[in-house]
């Protein structure tokens, strides 16, 4: 275990798809750190490697080289560290926000948040209490029992944010969270993320291609052809 002040530490992270002549370097030697409560944006055009970076930090995509440390736990060091329960780490330390909210269509707003808590072995009663509180805090108290199809794009994304926050993760990873929203709703979501980063003391890493949405972020990294420039 490392002893660090960072929620996310990435050292020389490299991800190569394929082998030999067909090998494609998606991320090359990425090195950066994100502190708890810090709001960081990764900007870049499509195909630049920003989602690969996010999935590598999100314990979904195994890095080819380099080191990834999440909340003092070394999860990747020249590949996944053996004996690490990636699912457990994802449950306990990471929260995900997606481009298309990815709410489970057959669960209500409340249940969509509860499922994240129940997966983390919280009792049903406690899960319901905490999910209700969260949704009310995000001004969705009147939408608890609505299915995702009955929610507006902005509301659905706020439910997705509530789900990501449910287990009070140290790190929140957001993949184009405003891509499916209009400008106003997109700005509202970004404002909410800024607020949450401060309130929850979570490191928030947002991948986006929309420069307008990253105003007020603590740091912005730009990715071009797999290389990061701050």
């Amino acid at each position: 275990m490392a002893n660090s002040m960072y929620a996310i530490e990435v050292e020389n992270l490299t991800k190569i798809y394929g082998k030999g002549e067909t090998a494609v370097i998606a991320i090359a030697d990425a090195t950066f750190q994100v502190k708890p409560g810090e709001l960081v944006a990764i900007l870049g055009p499509s195909g630049s490697g920003k989602t690969t970076l996010l999935t590598s930090i999100g314990l979904i995509n195994e890095p080819t080289h380099g080191k990834v440390i999440i909340d003092d736990t070394i999860v990747a060091d020249e590949g996944w560290v053996s004996g690490i329960d990636l699912k457990q780490l994802r449950r306990e330390k990471l929260g995900f926000i997606f481009q298309a909210h990815n709410l489970i269509p057959f669960l209500t707003a409340l249940e969509n948040v509860m499922i994240a808590l129940e997966i983390n072995r919280l009792s049903r009663r406690e899960a319901k209490r905490r999910a209700t509180e969260l949704l009310i805090s995000l001004n969705l108290g009147h939408r608890l029992n609505n299915y995702p199809t009955a929610l507006s794009g902005g509301e659905a994304q706020r439910v997705a944010i509530a789900r990501a926050l449910a287990n009070r993760p140290k790190v929140i990873l957001a993949d184009e969270p405003t891509a499916a929203l209009d400008t106003e709703n997109g700005k509202n979501v970004m404002d909410l993320l800024k607020k949450l980063a401060v309130e929850n003391h979570s490191a928030i890493l947002v991948v986006t291609h929309d420069r307008r949405m990253v105003e007020g972020f603590d740091r912005i990294f730009e990715v071009h052809d797999g290389r990061i420039a701050s």
């Binding site: 996010l54 999935t55 481009q99 489970i104 669960l107 129940e118 499916a180």
Partner: protein
């Protein structure tokens, strides 16, 4: 949180329709089993209601149901005299098809001795036959009314009683008449045939110069009497005295060389193994094919339902869900579909089996076995969906 129930609740229309379709298929499978049991029950009905221990039929035949058997009626006296036999009664069987209200009416006519046994097992309406001629008791399945008349052979017969569900091994409803009437219907020649026979016998005898006219006349009357006799039956059934050994009685009758005494066990075997074996195999094959079709359908439904949920499964995996949550969701849906479809199929058969043209017998064991098979099919069928779900990468949750 039970994801399977939540998904079903959300997509209830699709789920119910699918379950109804599958339920209809399972209903057909159940009815096939019921028809098979019905064939079995039908085949043994007459054997059961007669309550005979031995069926004496023509030698070298498997009569009276599987093969023709003709034996003289008066053999009943000899059989009755065999040590160990308590009762012996002649029976006559024939299948008849007549037109009634411009529709064919097919039934199995049983002639029984009013002083013997083998008659209607129960009278549900009207009374049993009391007169020696022209009365009949019919099974419910013939849908006739008391007092209704039908013409059989040379005479009209009046329905005086209704008995229960008595059917032949072919499933035709049974009707009972006296033995004398049954013999007349089966063996009585028409007047032209009798005249022809008499003339032929007379012509043959008149050519014999060694006979005096008185001898020739005596012979002609006797021979005509024999050829015109209807005292033939298909079987004589016997009930044994308490403690009598069926094999010893069979052995004694077998020694007469002209008859075959068939025990109830042997007759059951003839009826079930011989007569309905092919039908049984056919139905069994149909059931297997339908079960395979059900398995394929369930697999396809579960597979496509899993494909519909790829993003959901990927999201669940991404937020750290254990595999057993996802496997449980798919397996529970498959099992629930099986349970509901089975229930629908069962309900369908329960509401309609009385209306089937042939008897449907629903045995609890068959139903339980089918339920277990359906559950096994659901588990196996869900494997294709589970396999697909386990291959889903969490990364599939990302992107638009």
């Amino acid at each position: 949180m039970n994801l399977a129930i939540r998904d079903i609740r959300y997509h209830r229309g699709r789920f119910i329709l699918t379950s109804i379709g599958l339920g209809l298929l399972l209903g057909v499978v159940m009815s096939m089993g019921g028809i098979y049991r019905g064939l079995f029950a039908d085949a043994l009905t007459i054997l059961t209601i007669t309550k005979a221990d031995i069926w004496v039929v023509q030698q070298d035949t498997n009569g009276p149901f599987a093969e023709n058997s003709r034996i003289p009626e008066d053999i009943k006296y000899r059989i009755k005299a065999v040590p160990g036999v308590a009762l012996a009664s002649p029976l006559s069987f024939q299948t008849i098809q007549i037109d009634r209200s411009d529709k064919p009416l097919r039934f199995f006519l049983i002639g029984f001795d009013l002083n013997g046994f083998g008659g209607p097992p129960v009278i549900l309406a009207g009374r049993n036959i009391r007169r020696k001629h022209y009365e009949m008791v019919v099974a419910q399945g013939m849908k006739m009314e008391i007092g209704e008349k039908i013409r059989l052979g040379l005479h009209d017969y009046t329905v005086v009683g209704i008995t229960g569900k008595v059917v032949s091994s072919s499933g035709d409803p049974a009707a009972f008449v006296t033995l004398a009437d049954a013999q007349e219907i089966q063996f009585k020649k028409d007047n032209d045939a009798i005249r022809n026979d008499r003339q032929r016998i007379g012509a043959n005898l008149s050519g014999m110069q060694t006979l005096s006219p008185a001898q020739a006349n005596y012979l002609r009357q006797n021979i005509a009497g024999i050829t015109e006799s209807t005292h033939t039956v298909n079987t004589v059934v016997a009930r044994l005295a308490p403690g009598a050994n069926v094999h010893e009685v069979q052995e004694r009758i077998r020694r007469w060389n002209h008859f075959r005494p068939i025990s109830v066990e042997e007759q059951t075997k003839i009826l079930t193994k011989g007569m309905i074996e092919k039908a049984r195999m056919q139905l069994g094959l149909f059931r297997m094919v339908l079960l395979v079709i059900s398995a394929v359908i369930i697999s396809l439904i579960i597979y496509t339902s899993t494909l519909d949920k790829i993003k959901v499964i990927a999201t669940l995996k991404l937020i750290g869900s254990r595999n057993r949550v996802i496997v449980g969701m798919i397996l529970q849906q498959s099992l629930l579909m099986g349970v509901i479809a089975y229930g629908i199929g069962y309900l369908l058969i329960l509401l309609t089996y009385e209306r089937f043209p042939r008897r449907i017998v629903l045995e609890p064991f068959d139903l339980q076995l089918l339920f277990a098979i359906v559950m096994a099919i659901c588990v196996i069928a869900s494997f294709v969906g589970i396999r697909k779900a386990l291959k889903v990468e969490p990364a599939e949750a990302l992107g638009g």
